[in-house]
């Protein structure tokens, strides 16, 4: 029952809304919690025990941190911090251990086996089949953020277990996030406020927009992506490039579409979930792109890895030594670069246990490192040559450069293995004949109906994105129209999704990509 299925938005969600509204305010939180349990159970069954244990552990570790901070024994500040740090480490390590064992054991085992084979040690790793609960990677990060905030004193430890459980299990977030902070959702989830008509209306409108992106655009592209990535060795380089561009489009439409459904679902209950996308393709560079793409993952890494690593004593001491020897212009890059490396290694590993993801992380580490180093010289250079960086020409150049960067990264991200990624990438440069792509465009699993629908869909999403960048919200605009015009607009939008959605006979249901991470 993924978010884009009728079972979710036309059956499950309306039932939860109805029950939520029918029950008294005081126990509405229990309706949400019950819905969370049912939703989780439908995907992972008995594996819900992982989530229950993680919630209990998080709750008690939070209280333990608070107890130490209250300092009943009259300890010195230094000793309190030391004790708190140990408890925080225990909480984080216990949760991370589950993630690491379930997700990475086979990867590490296989890597060890490969290394030993290089040294002629005859040992083969036998993969273990692990059952992974849905959303493990997402709720583990939420646990880390909550515990760290309690440790830092920026979040009070929660005494009500229901709030912790609601925070970690809210059903719209279960599959793909967004990774929220405790203060963003917990109180609102527990408060049981009545559903407002405006929230219901705007929430479902946003769900409709998400469905459009997912089932009208992304799911029509999916067969082409699957075919090209699976057969690139027999295809022309131009088709390989087309496949990578299609994958970027599919991933954006799908992930951002899913986020629309998720955020819309939250809005119905009065829960403001954090945004995960902000027109990423209008970014100035790779660094800016990641401030607009999967925003909650980026801010998590910034707050809980980038800053702590940058401000860690050994890193700061090393930076000071570099400053003495090489000056401030060099030393200022030391701490951020060390932290950036940790962030991108974690980002790669978080996406999955595969060298393609680690390469993907390192790819962005190198790119953003270069951007940081070149920022000032480039600024001086463009000023000297009187190049207007805000001119239309320069912005087009910047957009093309960013698109190439993103497409290249996603090509490796979606490749079956690193070897496949390099081979596919190589074909673009060694076997490129654009005529091959033009002549075979209708043999790439998208027929003559799919292509115009996808193109119109992309244009529509681009226009809405460009307007959003200028702070123009279509939904708010439409809500100001006269009633008949409003009805015609939304009726047409619903019909558009029903008629042009890629479902039913001839289409296979496409799973949500990020639900697998």
């Amino acid at each position: 029952m993924a978010y884009h299925t009728i079972a979710y938005f036309a059956v499950f969600l309306p039932i939860v809304i109805l029950l939520y509204q029918v029950f008294p305010k005081k126990i509405r939180f229990a309706v949400i919690l019950a819905a969370d349990i049912v939703f989780f159970w439908l995907f992972s069954g008995k594996l819900i025990i992982y989530l229950v244990c993680a919630s209990l552990l998080t709750y008690f570790i939070g209280l333990w941190l608070e107890k130490i901070a209250l300092n009943p024994g009259g300890l010195s500040n230094k000793l309190i911090t030391k004790k708190k740090r140990r408890v925080l480490a225990l909480g984080i390590l216990l949760n991370l251990a589950v993630l690491v064992v379930l997700k990475y054991t086979n990867f590490f085992g296989q890597t060890l086996s490969d290394i030993l084979n290089v040294f002629k040690v005859d040992w083969t790793y036998k993969p273990i089949k692990f059952m992974i609960p849905i959303g493990l990677s997402f709720y583990t990060l939420e646990i880390i953020s909550y515990l760290t905030d309690v440790y830092r004193g920026t979040q009070k430890a929660e005494h009500n277990f229901a709030k912790v459980a609601l925070y970690l299990s809210f059903f719209p977030q279960t599959m793909e996030g967004p990774i929220a902070r405790f203060h963003e959702t917990a109180d609102a989830l527990y408060s049981g406020e009545s559903i407002k008509f405006d929230n219901l209306k705007f929430g479902y409108q946003r769900i409709l927009w998400g469905l459009f992106k997912k089932i009208v655009v992304a799911d029509r592209i999916f067969p082409t992506v699957k075919y090209i990535f699976g057969n690139y060795a027999n295809l022309d380089g131009s088709i390989a490039l087309f496949g990578a561009i299609c994958y970027v489009t599919q991933l954006y439409m799908e992930f951002s579409g899913c986020m629309d459904i998720v955020i819309g679902s939250g809005q119905i209950f009065g829960i403001t979930l954090p945004e995960n996308f902000r027109q990423p393709f209008l970014a100035k560079n790779a660094g800016d792109f990641w401030r607009r793409w999967h925003i909650t993952l980026g801010t998590f890494f910034k707050d809980y890895i980038f800053y702590p690593v940058s401000l860690a004593k050994p890193v700061k001491n090393f930076a000071k030594k570099v400053k003495k020897r090489c000056g401030r212009n060099v030393s200022k890059f030391v701490a951020p670069t060390a932290a950036l490396f940790c962030v991108w290694l974690s980002n790669g590993l978080w996406h999955g246990a595969n060298w393609t993801f680690i390469f993907y992380g390192m790819y962005y580490f190198v790119l953003i490192f270069i951007e940081n180093i070149l920022e000032e010289p480039l600024k001086k250079f463009t000023e000297k040559l009187h190049i207007n960086m805000e001119s239309v020409g320069f912005r087009i150049f910047r957009a093309i450069k960013l698109f190439i960067i993103v497409v290249t990264g996603e090509l490796f991200f979606n490749a079956a293995s690193l070897k496949d990624g390099f081979k596919m990438f190589g074909r673009i440069f060694t076997n490129f004949h654009i005529s091959e792509l033009i002549s075979s465009i209708f043999q790439l699993k998208m027929d003559r109906y799919d292509i115009p629908i996808v193109v119109v869909g992309i244009i529509l999403v681009t226009i809405v994105g460009a307007l959003k960048e200028k702070n123009i919200d279509i939904r708010r605009k439409v809500s100001g129209w006269v009633i008949p015009a409003r009805w015609v607009f939304w009726y047409a939008a619903i019909m558009l999704v029903i008629i042009f959605g890629a479902y039913g006979s001839g289409y296979t249901a496409v799973d949500l990509i990020y639900a697998g991470y």
Partner: protein, 76 residues
């Protein structure tokens, strides 16, 4: 305060630091700029800034930065 304004001007010139209250919200200071600033103010005011302090409320204006510096000096 004068010294802080000088540090800010040195890290990112051309900003009206005396009046700007949206250094973070308007992306005038990015995460790299924040780290450069932290390194400089730690040296200049002999304080230690923890990751918990790196929030928009503390870095949005020269005034809020100064308040944080004074508070950290008191806690030292």
């Amino acid at each position: 305060m004068e010294e802080l304004l000088e540090i800010l001007e040195d890290i990112q010139p051309g900003v009206d630091y005396a009046n700007c209250k949206t250094l973070i919200d308007d992306h005038i200071l990015d995460s790299f700029g924040i780290l450069s600033l932290v390194s400089e103010i730690e040296d200049a005011f002999d304080i230690e800034v923890s990751p918990a302090e790196l929030v928009a409320e503390n870095f949005n204006s020269a005034e809020s930065l100064w308040k944080m510096i004074c508070r950290l000096k008191e806690e030292e």
